[in-house]
């Protein structure tokens, strides 16, 4: 079976004042139709850059140096901007953390949704207006008709994100990439937006890549989870399997380090010592080794994503050789 999106060996390099930095290092993953894949990791781990590379939206200085990105069997990296524009915003779209910076401040919300409908679907102005209104009420805008005439800055954060979602879904995409869509929002609004995304995703049988740093959200939304650390995928598994039997020490530590509302007074959080390495391209072995409590000499050797069965892979040689056991 072929996948909807297939990323293979993707490597993205940024050139700056201090030379080159590899921020995404040989990342491979697949997304199937109608599937929700969560990419989780801390800031700077490359989760956003991975997806910007997929969308061809890297900022200046960023360049994909290696790898393939196949969307429905077509290589996106080999396409011209013009060809890409036919797919972007139509069959694959993206929503961002801060909708204010991705909405155009000088056009009304209605205008912006209509534009994408007219460009990609070739609708007339009246048809587009009708459909844009429908979309806005579908995403739970209280006053869809009135909102059409409003400018982005007059909307609240939650409503802006709804407008973004309406725009992203205007052409019924097959793949939606959501980059921390609720990080800037309050928790009750986050719950509303997440429920909306889940409903829409099911209704339209759309695949979704959700980028987040919130473990709780991952548990809530994902079918499959990809954990990234320092530019590499270090673990990948179906969601239940990952939460029950995390294989990589970093994944385990990440779960132990998050305080929850269910905690009792006795629980002591296990902090992960140290910080994420700032530049990591020169580390040949495991990039988490310096912070890991299971460190062994073999950690300094280059590693790969080892198979653990059932679609579970992890980049930890110590675990593969039986040096760490499952904790319950």
């Amino acid at each position: 079976m072929s996948h909807l999106l297939e990323v293979e060996g993707l490597t993205t390099v940024f050139t700056g004042d201090y030379g080159e930095t590899t921020s995404v290092d040989h990342v491979s993953f697949q997304v199937d139709e109608g599937e929700v894949v969560c990419i989780v990791g801390e800031s700077g781990c490359g989760k956003s850059v991975t997806n910007l590379s997929v969308m061809g939206l890297l900022s200046r200085g960023g360049k994909v140096t290696e790898g393939k990105v196949m969307f429905e069997g077509k290589d996106l990296l080999a396409m011209s901007e013009k060809e890409l524009d036919k797919i972007r915003g139509d069959q694959m779209t993206m929503i961002f953390q801060d909708p204010l910076t991705s909405l155009n401040p000088v056009f009304t919300v209605g205008n912006q949704i209509m534009e994408s409908l007219r460009v990609h679907r070739g609708l007339s102005k009246d048809e587009a207006r009708k459909q844009a209104e429908e979309l806005l009420s579908r995403v739970g805008m209280p006053d869809a008709k009135g909102t059409m005439k409003k400018y982005p800055h007059t909307l609240s954060g939650g409503m802006r994100q709804r407008a973004m979602i309406a725009m992203a879904l205007s052409c019924s995409p097959k793949l939606l990439i959501a980059d921390e869509p609720t990080t800037a929002l309050d928790v009750t609004i986050q719950a509303q937006i997440m429920q909306l995304l889940k409903e829409l995703q099911r209704e339209n049988k759309m695949a979704m890549i959700l980028i987040t740093h919130d473990i709780g959200l991952v548990a809530h939304m994902a079918d499959r989870v990809i954990v990234m650390y320092a530019g590499q995928i270090i673990e990948e598994a179906p969601v239940r399997e990952l939460f029950k039997h995390p294989k990589h020490p970093y994944t385990r530590a990440l779960m132990d380090t998050v305080p929850t509302i269910r905690d009792t007074a006795e629980r002591q959080l296990k902090a992960i010592p140290g910080i994420v390495p700032e530049s990591y391209d020169h580390i040949p072995g495991c990039r988490f080794a310096d912070r890991c409590s299971h460190r062994r000499p073999e950690c300094d050797k280059p590693q790969e994503n080892y198979e653990f069965g059932g679609g579970h892979t992890a980049r930890c040689i110590v675990r593969k050789e039986g040096g760490i056991q499952d904790e319950s």
Partner: protein, 341 residues
Amino acid sequence: MNHNKSEEKIPLLRIENLKKYYPIKGGIITHTTGYVKAVDGVSFQIYQGETLGLVGESGCGKSTIGRQLVGLEKPTDGTVYYKDHDLGRMNRKDVKPFRTKLQMVFQDPYSSLNPRKHIYEILAQPMLYHGISTKDSVEKDILNLLDMVGLPRSVLGRYPHEFSGGQRQRIGIAKALSLNPEFIVCDEPVSALDVSIQAQILNLLRSLQKELGLTLLFVGHGLGAVNYVSDRIAVMYLGKIVEMGEAKELFRNPVHPYTKALLSAVPVPDPDEREEGKKILMGEVGSSIDPPSGCRFHPRCPYATEICRQREPGMQETAPGSGHLAACPIVMTEESRREEA
């Protein structure tokens, strides 16, 4: 924890009917057209040696309360008593010795550290100015502080921009500790940090609080983090406290509909607990310029009645002597009726 704690609880700070209104200027000739009622009549006490968590969504006034307690904002109305001293009615000279006792740790440690000074200067100056330390002993005192917050001595000659977020927050904490305070307001101290760093800072705050017998007000919107560090928690909505009580009790048995909604909106990190079709709170937080009449939560509340629209509810104890207070007569009478039946 001590069981007869109620007898030994000494209030360190007493806040009575605290208000903060920010004027809105408008018109051709600039005049005040209205007020943003950030904090609108809040009363509570903070006991010696406890951590009080203050939670609520953005714009509910939680940070404003924190800033008023340490004297960064002047209250529009109401009083803050620190050990029976009314700080608002003192002149600058009299209030100075108290200011060192009330300190603050900020959300963004970068904007609260002077970028032109190295760490030694940042830490030494306040101590010398307030006479906490002398020229001869200041170096020793600073090294002590660094030990406490877990920083190496090599940081002293460096500037704020050279540090990671977690380290900068440690410097922010050292700065707050340098004046031997009794009370520290922590205003979202971990919101700007990465997940793996948050736990380090939370554990540091918790251990420092125990070691030094500090009293903390922990302001935050991350409910997990607040639960982790707090002994008691107060929940705010649109400038008012709607519920308050022992942390574990409040999170386990929330009474106010808003607290319930807030807690159920937090995704639990366990895929087996996905609740499909879970009821979630609709609508958005109202405006603090023109807040809803009566109970401010009534437009979003599933239990709202006519009374809620008209009368503003006061705080009531959920059970006599429990210390668990909530401002929702509707739910509370219903619950007591259920218990009787």
